[in-house]
């Protein structure tokens, strides 16, 4: 059928469907006339329409999706889809087994609940409710519950299998150093904080429920299950009647011992008791019998520890009255983190003094390395306009590495455009890399080709000339050829590459195979390691260059394996396996085949890996621990990764020379800066359009944007990534005295907004998993989270009296403006028909808000009510985040065609819109790009100044 025919059929079909049933026959006759085929076609479609009923209904899709869960085949003794491998142990909740999840092909810990438990209906209900809630938790420090189910009468829980020991056995083995103990406590606190945010109380935090992996990662088990499977009554009964111990009351909070209702503060107490025991090497509350322990935890204080900072924390965690404790796990965690970083400075959150942190204190926090201290100087200078050129000062001629053997870092490719995937020639004198030839810029990337360049200098020489994107070049051991990946196919769900070889001297390419991303030469030069393509042929292969034979090295897995790299001794291949967008882990597999072994467990994206010259360690890029993508090294045998001191944020795709003394990586990040334009200000009718040209005000070598100006004295709040993480900062009106207000080291922190009195900054952050509204006092103290629950809460702004905060939330199912008191508590919905971002009118009676992302400005009464467009502003309907309200009017940018954008001002007095300034540079758009001071005389704008992209060379690498 032709498209024309189809259009005609569609038109007739539509008109017939819309016609009244008794008129259809006539209509058909009229429009089809003598075209019998056409008429038959329409009639048969109408007939199908009658019979289709719930064809393609959501229920039908649901049935298909259900099909995904039908278990697959596997032999052996099994519960549901779990094949039991061995017993791990038995606990209060029943037996625990190591099992194989046949469907997901992974190991799980399977807890089988005791029969006496499952006979009690009410308990089962409670247990399932608790387990269901806990299974929604996903946090690196919480053992994930995968599944709760039963076969026949047997109830079971499948959880993540953790290879490690309980903290109880760790404590029995050896003494923990204080930093180690703090680390364990902090990891527990972050896990518990996430749970509390999801309104789940653990209720049984104790060393037996804390697992420590060999790499130091801590996982809390049995979330929320404790309370549904045991209760205090039983413990008491046991303690008082027989003295037999079912569970231990040692870590119970006083309120728990009294049988009162629990909340998160009970976990704070228990964690405090665990931490005390780790450091003091004896329990906080002791007794020969459980009854004596109860008496101790209700009435006596533990013996003091050696450090006053620690004792202050203990007092705050172990207060008998929960109202006198840390009120949130977050506060506890903040103190643990601060203590860990600066023990000498610790003043606990609940009694933190008013003090403005001196700038020196901020700079001292930066890791010690030459490049960073340069950045720190920049930070301190604050008002420096020419930060970029300073950043470039580190350029030093490569090729004459420091004679004293200290490692040096130099950029190798300062020319424009995207450069990536550098790797060395076997003699270490040249590099091969991908480059788009210099057409850089913030638009989409163009196809890249393979280039070769001498390290000591000279121009790059082009090796490939195809229209496709050529990447991951690797030099053959005999120096004569380059293997690389060429992106071939845009039509499959995976990137499909051709793996080809081209002579270094130029010439014809030879395609070896198709496959996934990445290619590596065996040291003997006879085979290539390549990645296959899922779903049918994922995994890692060796391809013989002599006969093209493919040998599969890895077992079947549903995951995407990429970037194989041979070890220099030829014995191993390291590769990445993706468990999700945020979890691309390193694996190794013997080059001769065998079972693969997971090396990293960071649940972070990994970008490339390289072997040290001795084949004993792997260097890789990861954003683990926050701070941006850095290079890390991990032993082949596994262990805790260590950060390479010389890389910090924005480091990707490392490669190491054959001798092992040189390392190359891609450095890539965006640099935005805040500019100031000064004008005459508000003249009684409007803001005058006499702004001087913008000059750099807040400039560092990383992100600085989202400015907000305090109404009283023009101080500035902004977002900066100068520490490697997005954090909230404030500074004076001239850019001096920058002060870091948040230290979440986590993703997506932004939208700082001053309270009218200048004592607080509200902002949004996803530090707790989903975006929440926080406020932080400029006088000190940790940020306070005002919102909770699983929703997205963002873009706070203050009421004029400073008592309430307006923000956008999707908690009602669509994006609306809500309001909450600055103390937190329940939120009130203001808008009903969709909204993006709101600011209070100067008299506090109205909210101005954007109707949606990229929308126009509307109003609604501050308490809710009729929602109405501002008629004069409806033609400016492309406003997104770059706007605000001052006493005399509204300033905004509404995205226009082309790169040049104008900041406009709507005067309340005249109801007229006039231009303030047309910008030379394109705004960033994803963040607030403009801020106008209260008197209209100072306009801050943020621009993208540079996308840094360089190949960086480390010489004297060890």
């Amino acid at each position: 059928m032709t498209a024309e025919r189809w259009k005609r059929i569609a038109a007739i079909y539509d008109s017939v469907v819309e016609a009244p049933p008794d008129g259809r026959e006539a209509l058909l006759g009229q429009v089809c006339q003598s075209d019998k085929d056409l008429r038959r076609e329409i009639e048969s479609l109408l007939d199908a329409r009658e019979r289709a009923e719930d064809f393609l209904s959501p229920d039908e899709l649901h049935a298909h999706i259900r099909g995904l869960s039908v278990p697959e085949a596997a032999p052996g003794k099994r519960l549901g889809r779990y094949e039991i491998l061995s017993a791990i142990g038995a606990g209060g909740m029943g037996e625990v087994y190591l099992a194989h999840d046949a469907e997901l092909n992974r190991r799980v810990a399977l807890k089988v609940l005791p029969a006496q438990f499952t006979r009690d209906e009410e308990r089962v209900v409670r247990f399932r409710r608790e387990a269901r809630a806990a299974s929604a938790l996903s946090h690196p420090n919480i053992v994930t519950i995968y599944d709760v189910g039963r076969t026949g009468e047997t109830w079971f829980i499948a959880t993540e299998f953790v290879e490690g020991v309980t903290l109880r056995s760790r404590l029995a083995e050896r003494t923990l150093a204080i930093p180690e103990a703090l680390g364990i406590a902090l990891q527990c606190a972050s896990g518990l904080e996430a749970a509390h945010d999801a309104r789940i109380v653990h209720g049984d935090v104790k060393p037996e429920n804390i697992l420590v992996r060999p790499d130091g990662v801590v996982k809390i088990v049995d979330f929320g299950l404790a309370r549904s499977t045991q209760n205090c009554r039983e413990l008491f009964d046991d303690a008082t009647q027989s003295g037999a111990v079912v569970g231990t009351p040692r870590y119970m909070s006083p309120e728990q011992a009294r049988g009162q209702k629990l909340d998160g503060r009970s976990d704070i107490f228990s964690l405090g008791a665990v931490m005390y025991e780790m450091i003091a090497r004896q329990p906080a509350f002791r007794g020969a019998t459980n009854a004596e322990v109860f008496a101790a935890l209700l009435n006596s204080e533990p013996e003091p520890l050696t450090s006053s900072g620690l004792n202050a924390m203990m007092r705050n965690a172990l207060a008998k009255d929960r109202d006198c404790r840390y009120q949130t796990m977050h506060d506890f965690a903040v103190d643990l983190r601060r203590f860990g970083e600066r023990p000498q400075n610790l003043v606990p959150a609940v009694e933190r003094l008013k003090s403005t942190q001196p700038l020196g204190g901020v700079v001292r926090d930066f890791p010690k390395n030459p490049r960073l201290s340069r950045r720190a100087i920049l930070t301190g200078a604050g008002a420096l306009g020419a930060g970029l050129s300073l950043y470039r000062l580190r350029s030093k001629r490569p090729g004459n590495a420091a004679q004293d053997g200290t490692p040096t870092v130099t950029p190798l490719t300062s020319f424009a455009g995207y450069k990536d995937y550098g790797s060395f020639s076997p003699d270490g004198e040249r590099i091969v890399f991908s480059w788009n030839g210099g057409q850089g810029g913030s638009g989409g990337r163009q196809e890249r080709d393979i280039y070769i360049k001498k390290i000591s200098g000279g121009e790059p020489v082009r090796l490939t000339f195809a229209q496709q994107d050529d990447t991951h070049a690797a030099w053959s051991p005999d120096r004569r050829s380059i293997a690389f990946c060429r992106l071939m196919d845009n039509q499959t769900p995976y990137m499909r590459f051709a793996i080809s070889i081209v002579p270094v001297s130029g010439g014809a390419e030879r395609k070896i195979t198709e496959g996934g991303e990445g290619v590596s030469w065996s040291p003997d030069g006879r085979t290539l390691a390549v990645a296959g393509l899922p779903p049918d042929s994922g995994g890692i292969f060796q391809v013989s260059l002599e006969n093209g034979a493919r040998t599969r090295l890895t077992g079947w897995s549903p995951h995407l394996d990429e970037l194989p790299v041979f070890s220099p001794d030829g014995k191993w291949i390291v590769f990445t396996r993706s468990f999700g967008p945020r979890a691309r882990e390193l694996f190794v597999v013997p080059a001769s085949g065998g079972s693969e072994r997971q090396l990293t467990f960071e649940q972070q994206p990994t970008y490339g890996a390289a072997w040290t010259g001795d084949s004993k360690e792997i260097v890789f890029s990861s954003n683990q621990g926050g701070g941006g993508e850095s290079l890390w090294r991990i032993p082949l045998g596994g262990g805790t990764p260590r950060r390479l001191a010389s890389t910090f944020g924005g480091a990707f795709y490392p490669s190491i020379s054959r001798k092992g003394d040189q390392l190359i990586y891609t450095e890539s990040f965006r640099d935005t800066n805040i500019y100031l334009s000064e004008g005459a200000g508000f003249n009684g009718r409007s803001v005058l359009h006499h702004f001087g040209s913008p000059r750099g005000l807040i400039v560092s070598s990383r992100r600085d944007d989202s400015p907000n100006i305090l109404g009283t004295d023009d101080r500035i709040a902004f977002v900066s990534k100068r520490t490697g993480n997005e954090e909230i900062w404030i500074c004076d009106r001239d850019g001096r005295n920058p002060l870091q207000m948040s230290s979440f080291a986590g993703p997506d922190t932004g939208t700082p907004r001053w309270s009218p009195d200048g004592r607080w900054v509200a902002f949004d952050s996803s530090a707790a998993g989903n975006p929440n509204i926080y406020i932080v006092s400029v006088e000190g103290g940790p940020p306070r989270k005002l919102t909770s629950g699983p929703h997205g809460n963002y873009m706070p702004s203050w009421s004029v009296d400073g008592k309430r905060i307006y923000f956008k939330s999707d908690r009602s199912g669509s994006d609306q403006i809500w309001s909450i008191t600055a103390q937190g508590g329940g939120a009130t919905q203001i808008t009903r028909s969709g909204a993006c971002e709101a600011f209070s009118s100067p008299d506090g009676k109205l909210l101005y808000y954007t109707k949606r992302g990229w929308g126009a400005i509307w109003t609604v009464p501050a308490e809710g009510g009729p929602e109405e467009p501002v008629p004069e502003l409806q033609r400016y309907d492309r406003i997104f985040r770059s706007w605000g309200v001052i006493r005399d009017g509204i300033y905004f940018m509404s995205r226009e065609q082309g790169p040049r954008q104008t900041v406009w001002f709507f005067s309340f007095a005249t109801r007229q819109v006039s231009p303030l300034l047309t910008l030379d540079k394109e705004p960033i758009w994803s963040y607030p790009d403009v801020a106008l001071s209260a008197d209209g005389s100072r306009l801050l704008t943020a621009h993208l100044d540079q996308e840094v992209n360089d190949l960086m060379l480390i010489q004297n690498f060890r």
């Binding site: 498209a3 007939d47 064809f55 298909h64 259900r66 997901l104 996803s766």
Partner: protein, 193 residues
């Protein structure tokens, strides 16, 4: 490219700017998340409380992109990718079930269940083929079915993604559904004239 500011968001932005490579990188991420979520939902599913495909897609969006206040455009693009991926997942699933059946491996399901499963597998493969055929005649209709059926979008959401009116969505959906039904279940003999 990899600035670390949310890989999926960057890819969506790049894709919306015309970078077709971005889709290739995006697809496995979205597919993985959808699979994972489907399993998680199902593992928690209670009688009477069924999985909503829209919720699945929306949650995948949230999990992959986070709660960044991103452009609506990103969300519509995401829906388009998610719909494709859901289709891809179900088709693959159906293909592998067919293969298992031929391989004679012992599925641990009751016979009745197995029958249902293979019926569904056949359906999804037939639907996939029919959609490919439809795309050749009317690409947008095929995309519309993908969005409404595989991503579970409402007519309004579909309209938003395709940049057409909800009325047009209703009209085209009506016809596409009839056409697909006829393709899958066959047409009756022509009416007596």
């Amino acid at each position: 490219m990899h600035s670390g500011d949310g890989e999926v968001t960057q890819l969506l932005k790049a894709w919306s700017k015309g970078d077709t490579d971005a889709l290739e990188r995006l697809a496995p991420l979205v597919e993985g998340e959808l699979r994972r979520l489907a399993r998680r939902y199902l593992s928690k599913e209670q009688p009477g409380e069924t999985l909503q495909p829209t919720a699945l897609v929306n949650e995948a969006y949230v999990r992959l992109i986070g709660w960044n206040p991103v452009e609506w455009q990103d969300r519509t693009h995401f829906y388009a990718v998610a719909a494709k991926m859901m289709r891809h997942i179900l088709v693959n699933q159906a293909v592998s079930r067919g293969r298992q059946k031929r391989g004679g491996s012992a599925l641990l399901v009751s016979l009745a269940e197995a029958d249902q499963v293979s019926q569904r597998s056949a359906d999804i493969l037939a639907l996939d083929e029919a959609l490919i055929k439809l795309a050749k005649i009317d690409d947008r209709s095929s995309q519309l079915v993908e969005l409404r059926f595989f991503a579970g979008l409402t007519a309004d959401e579909t309209a938003e993604v395709l940049g057409i009116s909800a009325r047009t969505v209703h009209r085209e959906w009506d016809l596409a559904r009839a056409w697909l039904f006829r393709e899958l279940r066959g047409g009756r003999e022509a009416h007596e004239q």
